[in-house]
Symmetry: C2
DNA sequence: CCTTGACCTAAAGTTAGGTTTAGAAATTAC
DNA sequence: GTAATTTCTAAACCTAACTTTAGGTCAAGG
C-alpha cells in the first residue's frame, strides 16, 4: 500500500471511523473527489483525511452536507490545502457556532422567564417567537406563532 | 363552536400555527389524545393548545418526538395540568438546554485552540472527541475517532 | 494458482417528521 | 335545502443522510 498511490476506501474508513458506504455517499454528494486505480478502485489523497474530519466536525455543529460542501469548495482546487486554508474556513465556523450558542442561550433565558408563569399557551409568550427559522428546511412545521407567511 | 364541546382540529391548527396534518400525526405518535364528536370528528381540550406549544418549543430545543412524549407523559392523567405541573417539566428542559449549550461552548473553545494549528487530521485533536454521541440515533455515522465500539 | 477479503455498482430500504392525495362523510353558510 | 367548507381514513410520497443487498470484480497471501 504505497502512500504515493493513495489510500484505499477501507484505509480511509479505518482512519476516520466513517463507514465505507458513508464515504461513497460523500463522494456522490461531491464532498470528496477520489481518482481510480487501474482496477477501477477508489484512491484517496492523504488530505482527504482532513477533508472528512472537517465534514464530521461540521456535522456536529449542525451543518447540512450541502452547506459543508459550500465551505469545502472554497479550498484551493489545484494544490493540497495549507494550514492557512483550513484556518480561514474554521474562522467562518467559529462565527456560525457563536450564532447557535447565542440563539440557544436566548431561548434558555426566555424559558427561565416562563417557568411557573403558565403562559405557554399565550401568543405573547417570548418562547413563541421564531428561533432559527431560516434554518428550517424540508419536512416539519413551517412556522411558529408570530411567524406566519 | 361551543367551547364546552372542544376545539376542532382546524381551530387548533389556526391557534398553534401547525398544519392540520401535523396535528393528526402528533396524535398518531401519542402526543395528544382528542376524543370524537358524534360525527366522528376530533375534538380537542383547550389544554391541548399548551401541549402542542410545548411540543413546538421542545422541538426547537432539539428534542425528538419520543423524548417529548416521555416528558408529556409525566403530566397528570386525570385532570387538566396546572401551572405547577408545567413548571416541573420546564425545569427539566432547562437542565437539558444547559447541557446543550455547554457542549457547544466546549466545542467552540476547542475549535479556537485548533484554528491555525492544522491538526484537523490528527486523532489527538480535541475536536475528535465524541460530542453528544448518546443523542445520535437512526441514520448517520455511528462514531467518531476515539469512540469505536 | 487459488482462495479470501476488499471493492465495485445500482437499486432498494431505513428513520424522523411530516405532507399529499383520493374519495367519502360531516358541518357550516347562505 | 343546497352549496361550500371541513374533516375523515388510508396509503403513498417527501427529504436527509445513510445502510443494506445482490451480483459481480480486484487484489493480496500462501
Amino acid at each position: 500500500m504505497k502512500v504515493s498511490e493513495g489510500l484505499s476506501i477501507g484505509a480511509l474508513a479505518a482512519r476516520t471511523g466513517l463507514a465505507v458506504s458513508a464515504i461513497r455517499y460523500y463522494e456522490a454528494q461531491g464532498l470528496i473527489r477520489p481518482w481510480r486505480n487501474p482496477g477501477g478502485q477508489r484512491r484517496f489523497a492523504r488530505s482527504d483525511l482532513r477533508r472528512l474530519s472537517f465534514v464530521m466536525i461540521a456535522q456536529q455543529f449542525g451543518f447540512s452536507l450541502p452547506q459543508i460542501k459550500a465551505e469545502l469548495d472554497r479550498l484551493p482546487g489545484g494544490r493540497t490545502p495549507t494550514k492557512a486554508d483550513w484556518a480561514k474556513i474554521s474562522i467562518g465556523f467559529r462565527a456560525a457556532l457563536d450564532d447557535k450558542i447565542e440563539t440557544l442561550t436566548r431561548l434558555r433565558d426566555n424559558l427561565d422567564g416562563c417557568i411557573g408563569c403558565g403562559c405557554l399557551s399565550l401568543p405573547s409568550c417570548a418562547l413563541y417567537n421564531p428561533v432559527d427559522t431560516a434554518a428550517r428546511k424540508g419536512a416539519g412545521p413551517r412556522y411558529l406563532m408570530g411567524d406566519r407567511p
